[in-house]
């Protein structure tokens, strides 16, 4: 924010007090944590007006977003179910973003993970290969991770060899992945007995991920995602490789001075974030879906970007942020069925939250000062 512009605005309204943003000597630790909270408060505040504008009771509207998803054990398992892929994708993205590698196309890597894992499950099912849930789970998750990593490696290769912008390449590969998935489920992988619906056969029961609780659809992927969060913390803050990646992100010249390889950082960031997104895709098809359809993703890959930022690009913060955004997703669906509001509302709230967060983050490095009218007279 330009201090002088604000100053000029202030001096035009001569006798009013004016706001001035001053850079802080040190970033505020308080605001690092308070900023997401304030952003959420602003989002809720705006949401109230949106509900009123649609002629709905705002209290009921808010309760659908913030109470319904946690009010019963079953609701909680659904919350966990949707938080799991968000968390896994976002854990990969925070590493990438911290390394200043802007992988915006986690959605595409998620889809490729779903395709590879789904293809494997279809093959196992069709050939009636005997397996067990606990034995097959690591295999199918690994397959998804490999699929996602390979998809992301295209972007890494383009950046490495041709200096092609990774934001554009990863984003455009989302559409390619989408078309690839559509081609498969409309074409070669279509279930012959599926009444011509664009979907694969249902995977055999033994290829599905083990459930976590007696009720609900939550699966072992959730336990794995908590483990991944711990591993990511260790990698980022206790291992030299993780440190090198982050230095490359915030101070590339310092990384070069130290001798940390920028190519290594690029490849690590994209392969890890791609693998995580792909694994999330495998969790989704081998978890609640049980088959491949064109609608494997709920936009998880894009929502996870918001999770990463709301979670302060921190492996523990991401866990909480994933639950918050999972609430938004469930709230969006419920508001469609209960209030007759478009489910796109969920996307509106996501956008609002990110927008408010980026604005509130100004306060981490700046403070607001109210300046009296006296000073503008001194210049006159």
């Amino acid at each position: 924010m330009d201090e002088r512009t604000l100053d000029n605005l202030g001096s035009r309204r001569k006798h009013h007090r004016m706001i001035r943003l001053e850079p802080r000597p040190q970033p505020s630790i308080l605001w690092t944590y308070a900023s997401p909270a304030l952003a959420l408060a602003i989002t809720v505040f705006v949401a109230v007006f949106i509900f009123i504008a649609f002629g709905k009771d705002p209290v009921r509207g808010l309760s659908i977003f913030f109470w319904e998803p946690i009010k019963s054990p079953y609701a909680l398992t659904e919350l966990i179910l949707k938080a799991t892929p968000l968390m896994v994708i976002a854990l990969g993205l925070i590493l990438s973003f911290r390394a200043n590698v802007w992988n915006i196309g986690a959605e595409g890597q998620f889809l490729l993970g779903a395709i590879v894992a789904g293809g494997l499950a279809v093959w196992v099912t069709e050939n009636q290969i005997a397996t067990q849930r606990w034995a097959f789970a690591p295999i199918v998750l690994l397959a998804g991770a490999v699929g996602g990593a390979l998809w992301a490696s295209i972007a890494a290769l383009c950046k490495d060899k041709f200096n092609a912008n990774e934001i554009l390449v990863t984003l455009m590969l989302v559409y390619v992945a989408n078309l690839l998935l559509s081609y498969l489920v409309f074409g070669p992988w279509k279930d012959p007995k599926g009444f011509n619906f664009p979907q694969s056969i249902r995977f055999s029961d033994d290829t599905l991920l083990p459930r976590l609780f007696a009720t609900g659809r939550a699966h072992v992927g959730f336990a794995l995602s908590i483990l991944l969060s711990a591993l990511m913390w260790i990698f980022m803050f206790r291992m030299l490789r993780g440190y090198q990646l982050q230095v490359g992100g915030i101070a590339p010249l310092a990384a070069r001075y130290a001798g940390f390889s920028p190519r290594g950082a690029l490849w690590t960031a994209l392969l890890v974030s791609g693998a995580f997104a792909g694994m999330a895709g495998a969790m989704e098809v081998a978890g609640p879906m049980g088959q491949l359809t064109p609608y494997v993703s709920n936009g998880y890959g894009f929502t996870a970007i918001i999770v990463a930022f709301v979670g302060r690009l921190h492996p523990v913060g991401v866990v909480f942020a994933a639950f918050l955004l999972s609430m938004f997703l469930i709230g969006g669906e419920l508001s469609q069925s209960r209030l007759g509001l478009p489910s796109a509302l969920s996307g509106v709230f996501q956008g609002l939250l990110l927008f408010a967060l980026l604005t509130c983050d100004t306060l981490v490095n700046n403070r607001i000062r109210w300046v009296g009218a006296k000073k503008s007279e001194a210049h006159a």
Binding site: P25, Q26, F237, L240, A251, Y257, A258, R367, A378, H379
Partner: protein
Amino acid sequence: MSATAPPPRLALRHITKRYPSVVANDDVSLSVAPGEIHAVLGENGAGKSTLMKIIYGAVKPDSGEMLFEGRPFFAKNPRDARSHGISMVFQHFSLFDTLSVAENIWLGLDQSIRLDQVREQIAATAEKFGLPLEADRPVHTLSVGERQRVEIMRSLLTQPKLLILDEPTSVLTPQAVDKLFATLRQLAASGCSILYISHKLDEIRSLCTNCTVLRGGRVTGKVDPREESNASLSRLMIGAEPPLLLHRDAKLGAVALDVKQLTLKSDAMFGTNLDHISLHVREGEIVGIAGVSGNGQQELLAALSGENPRAPSQSVQLFGADIASAPPNRRRSLGLFFVPEERLGRGAVPVHSLAMNNLLTRHHELASRNALAWVSPARSRSLAKDIIARFNVKAGGDSAAAKSLSGGNLQKYIVGREISAKPKVLIVAQPTWGVDVGAAAQIRAELLKLRDEGCAVLVVSEELEELFELCDRMHVIAKGKLSPSIATRDASVELIGEWMSGLWTTSVAAESTTA
């Protein structure tokens, strides 16, 4: 006021400007008469730049008043300042390399006139003030001194009543400084007032007739510099005289760093290509490289540090081993350490703590040696505490962010980090650039101590004074070529100044015939 005593061209009264963490100007008053060359002397961070920005309308003071030609006036912005006759030449040039001199000046003018009128004005002004400048030459073919003339010309065409010059000699050879001073004296004689900002005492004493000294944002003295000594000015500026350095006789060891016929094309668009550079540094000596910035220093340092590993094979050797294509961390493990010119963002990660910044160059010691390379925060912290204590760094502990330190303290920390790694060869770029006098003296003393302990030290600096103080031998770099070395006791400022323009071939030939 009577007609015989005209009002001062510029008068500042009780100017105060506060920033969140520092008071940049505290009750500063000064007055400049028409045709006077007035020095503003102070260390980096003393508040000189803020004061000039206030005069030039780029910063608004919190309180105080300014009189210009006897009338209260605060420029709303730099354009307003220029239209009232206040002009400023900044330390860093803002010129388009691909345009000609006249086009550059034309672009910077506020009033709209035709290009050929600009050419005429340049010719007229050049003649009037002894400021030779070819209007049609493209700027990228100009030397640094000539580029500065373009900036000064741009200011003069606005017919200023007050010209502000910010550290104008930091990029000039000694000979170019003499030419600049002649122009400035002529300009002052024509009635223009000049505010001359510097921290170089000799220059101020030879050029200026009045001097306002700032320390920590406050005025600590108003003197006639012609009647002062360097020591007395230094006392006003820093509150003490700089300590003398102890220079023992060199005890030379083996050749540590050997550069052989290094030729390397620059990666940058207007960078300098290195042309057959040869030099060596022995254990127990300090070798200096003088030169105006932009003559290949960056490229040479990158080839030596390993940041650019594309030097031809065998052209850079460490104790006889070829390291031309070794990356920086490999060179460090062989004993070659490097202190870069930029502290923030290169020598240290600004937002990381001092302890974490140790990992940049000391990860060989601080991370576990297995493939997983575990980092121990406790060991980084204790190393940071050691460096802070041993090198007397003022910092809020080992967890202070690098960017929270003052320039001098961060430089002490970075130099300390590299010295405490017990290097066999240490390369230092601009060891005291932008550092206060006390810290500079301490850093120089540490470098001399390191040399006495048998380390080979290579110093690249633009400050001749510093090189004469530190070095046993000196080279000069100009246009990507390196001069032969000369023992410091045989060198003079004049000779090095000549060499800085690339003219060593003649003088070396002359010397070898007399020898």
